[in-house]
Amino acid sequence: MYVSPIREPLIRGKKTYNKITQEIAAPIEGKAGKAWYAGIALTGSAVLLGLIMIGYTVWEGIGTWGLNKTIGWGWGITNFVWWIGIGHAGTFISAILLLFRQKWRTSINRSAEAMTLFAVMCAGLFPLIHMGRPLLAFFVFPYPNTRGLWVNFNSPLLWDVFAISTYFTVSLLFWYIGLIPDIGTIRDRMKSKAKKWIYGMLSFGWTGSAKHWQRHESISLILAGLAAPLVLSVHSIVSMDFATSVIPGWHTTIFPPYFVSGAIFSGFAMVLTLLIITRKVLNLENYITVGHVESMNKIIIATGSIVGIAYITELFMAWYSGVEYEQYAFMNRATGPYWWAYWIMMSCNVISPQLLWFKKLRRSLVFSFILSIFINIGMWFERFVIIVTSLHRDYLPSSWEMYKPTIVEVGIFIGTLGLFFTLFLLFIRVFPVIAIAEVKGVLKSSGEKNLNPDKN
């Protein structure tokens, strides 16, 4: 496989196959440091807070949240869409970048896909707990019942149930199939009998046989081919929760692809947030290189620009349509009581990523990290602006209201942040953070021995 010498090496440090195995397996084999314990103590307490708040919500009822008749969806659904959006980067990296033969994905796909699973878990919590009677949540599934009833297949909320369940399941399958050979690697390195047995079970008996590899490659490619439209469909269906309505600011045809771009945008930002820290702490800087960070930043600026164009399109179309409600909706966003949320969104999502046109900033780890936080904040506010400002003032002025989250809602959100980071911290100790077999596969063509490390 020929790779042009002007390309930056994907694996630095003149590695051998054995070194790759050693360095990536190290966090699993070694003991956790103080930083890890401190981290999980922090995230664990956030989880505890979240559990308490969720328990309180289920016990006392949805009245403990700040919702009202006018604004029926607030922080809960904002968080739901935010988390699902974040999850999309993982599938994008595994599936769409695989279909586009982007070799640089090999060192980030494993952790990005894991991130997807954790994000979807956090997201899935919200449709469940925001129900009036969460203990009857199973009503959303079409099972034969004595009432003779079926679920409402016409409702986008139900399409969500199927979309997110499918997304979680397929992502899990895709992630796990990819993991099997790497678990085999860990199994063969384990000294303790118990650990060897556990990883042995988890590795499904992987031997590295050529026929198995052939099937493995085939299934990975097809799962990628399936996951690519899946990722488009899931966030499109989530956007349809809003777009199928009739209210200004919600009902607009651009939502499906615009939400998908926004999801990839925020997802990549979260991948950067996680990996910039992880690569330093786990000594994986030779695998997740500055070049990788730059490539991710390029996707960020592309999707961020698409999101910016979508904002401008909406603004223009609101004016062009001549529909006074549509025009007011956007005037209100920019100048009404929630103007501060709107301008945070605009500066974080539209203005700040444009700085990535400068190569120096694209390759700066500090800048990328800070920017990734701003983007995630901005994307949270985007969902907040769409949901709350469109609801709080629609067609009937006598219904206009304001919304403020209660401490319960804020606590649940913090809890999901805690859950996400706890799961990630556990992940890095149990499974290899980088796809060992895939990285070995690109070592010859894209490693430092082959390419000039000074070119970039």
């Binding site: 590899w213 399936l226 269906i237």
Partner: protein, 173 residues
């Protein structure tokens, strides 16, 4: 009695050349074990294209029919309701769920086929030939004739490509 020879290489390109040589001499290779898939190996080992994509297509098609069929039946035959002025047979509404179940069925079908055909699964009985395979060793296992006439040729081909730990093994059948 089945006899075979096993050896390992440190570089997959050597293995690839050795395998080609063996194939040119009509020697059957039982298996190649590697830490990652070696490109160009499949045609040398005579592998037919995997049928997993076909399984995927069929499972997906089943998913499409099940999803679209069920929604249609539930909303036109079993319990038709007027919801938001939509027709009973509301095709556009049915599409999202139909798409999702198509993907779900396809994924499940393929993963099942993959695991069953490869006989992989939790608790699968597999002998791990060499623990270093999943690290950086590329192992080739070559079938030998009972008479032992091929032994010399095979060893020569393997040694030419710097194979290590060449071992001849016999199994009683």
């Amino acid at each position: 009695m089945r006899r075979y020879i096993s050896a390992y290489f440190e570089d997959e390109e050597n293995l690839l050349r050795a395998a080609k040589d063996l194939k040119n001499n009509n020697i059957s290779i039982q298996d190649v074990l590697s830490p990652f898939p070696i490109h160009g190996l499949d045609p040398i080992l005579g592998f037919k294209k995997s049928l997993i994509p076909t399984v995927g297509f069929i499972s997906g098609a089943i998913g499409t029919i099940v999803a679209f069929g069920f929604q249609t039946w539930a909303f036109t035959v079993d319990y038709p309701l007027f919801i938001g002025g939509k027709p009973h047979f509301s095709i556009p509404s049915f599409i999202p769920i139909t798409f999702e179940l198509t993907v779900l069925f396809a994924a499940f079908g393929m993963v099942t086929a993959f695991l069953v055909r490869s006989k992989l699964g939790p608790g699968a009985k597999k002998t791990i030939h060499d623990e270093r395979i999943t690290d950086d060793h590329f192992v080739i296992i070559v079938d030998l004739e009972e008479s032992g006439s091929q032994d010399g040729m095979v060893e020569e081909i393997l040694l030419k490509e710097m194979a290590q730990e060449i071992q001849v093994k016999e199994i009683e059948l």
